[in-house]
Symmetry: C2
Subunit: 273 residues, 2 copies
Amino acid sequence: MNTPHNPTQNRLLAELELAEFHRLSPHLELVDLARGDVLYQADGKMMYVYFPTTATISVDFVLEDGGTSEIARIGNEGLLGVSLFMGGLSSSGRAVVQMAGYAYRLRAARLMEEFYHKGPLLRLRLRYTHTRLTEISQLALCNSHHSTRQRLCRCLLQMLDRSSSDEIAVTQESIAAMLGVRREGVTDAAGWLQNLGIIKWRRGHVIVLSRAGLDAHVCECYATVCHATSRLLPDLPTVPRAGTHAWRPAVGLPVPVLYRPGAQAKPLWVRGI
Amino acid sequence: MNTPHNPTQNRLLAELELAEFHRLSPHLELVDLARGDVLYQADGKMMYVYFPTTATISVDFVLEDGGTSEIARIGNEGLLGVSLFMGGLSSSGRAVVQMAGYAYRLRAARLMEEFYHKGPLLRLRLRYTHTRLTEISQLALCNSHHSTRQRLCRCLLQMLDRSSSDEIAVTQESIAAMLGVRREGVTDAAGWLQNLGIIKWRRGHVIVLSRAGLDAHVCECYATVCHATSRLLPDLPTVPRAGTHAWRPAVGLPVPVLYRPGAQAKPLWVRGI
DNA sequence: CGTTATCTGTGCGTCCTCGCACAGAGGATC
DNA sequence: GATCCTCTGTGCGAGGACGCACAGATAACG
């Protein structure tokens, strides 16, 4: 079983202490996720917790009229199923595979056992939940204050961070669902970014020509969320990623006080070479 | 010390098992909160966890440009300081007393000790956190899809639920900050509700003339959040409240599928006579 | 290779929200 | 009672997002 796959490709699992990791790993099951796979239905039972390695997963909330918004996007830095160890058995949202890839999963029942070991896993889960709370809060703020263009930049950057190249496989339609806006609105914002030479969009594929261009137009929420994540996983060995531009704060803005306390401008999201 | 105050006026504390409650109660300190008191600063240290009894507390997130949105509103059904037992010591948002009243507080250090008893308190905290996650997610959705008018209705209903009368002490200015819109926008929406004879707004005081009117115009997010709360505190003795109209679903809408599964229309938020 | 389905781009009118400016209206204070 | 400050109401132009309709373009598929 000498596959190139390893649970530690998920950064949360990688954070576990050895003893705990070894207790857990026999129960981790590698799964191959295809784009569009639905892992949780809204209000459906959650059978597994998922730790993505190369896949990314979207959690959406849906309104009665069909309107949607993406509430969380989970890559190898996170975990799907926080509700499970919060004592809820059913998911509040719908979880859909957004980028095909692999994940490890753990049976809910097994997790519940682990739950009462109150070891480092518990601590890590709680810290992760805290991060998620912060992210979602920032999202709520972002939704009510920032334009479609800014939010598109944020969305693209967040997808880029989880992509292994400068290309993202996504349609404007699905971006629209994530942002909770019309498809035409995304087309408009995309056209604007294309005229600026920042991206190129071609039938289900975005090519990011200038990451710096996205950085320059994104709202502060991107940096805030990056910051929350880097606090969660502070001293982790860097994971090789394609993005070569370190994040830098937008120029001309007042010194951010609230969400980057003390810290000088430095890459918020640890990236490889 | 025979005050009319009792920790069990907070519904989360009331849910505790007796043994646990007795272990905790000597450490609970009653505090008198005035409107506007700042309990947490954004990114500030959290010294206490607060369990409101008659007070309500707003958690706001603030943008660099000063824009704000209310992320959570905490009354006697909840607790301020989830981040504390998530392993974070600093608050992500700013917590301000929104309605004056009382709360019990617990030193953070004491909470951390309690934390490792992994008793029912832990379970309850986790369940509460789950509820908060759901609420904030719904808020993010609401912010990106619903009009100021709908959101004003939601906001008023949520305040009314925590009020002891049909009158709410609040200015349009502060509502605007909570909703993340302009003050004039609130004036406009308020004027609309006043013309409909649903409310009356007079210099820092709203009088709700027709709760049913608010119910009729509020978006589904109110019901969703009520539902999440009633799941958290399902079989609790009702707390006397002034609202006399039971919640009922808006007429003419398609049968809600996602967030009120199975259940028939019934009061989502338990109210007393 | 031709058809088909999907994805992207565009135009136009409407509505909502914003930003600004300013006027009236209560309370509070002295 | 006169003055001040805060709160509420209004008007208007600008910009953004929506809803709808439709055209071109490109990948997929038989």
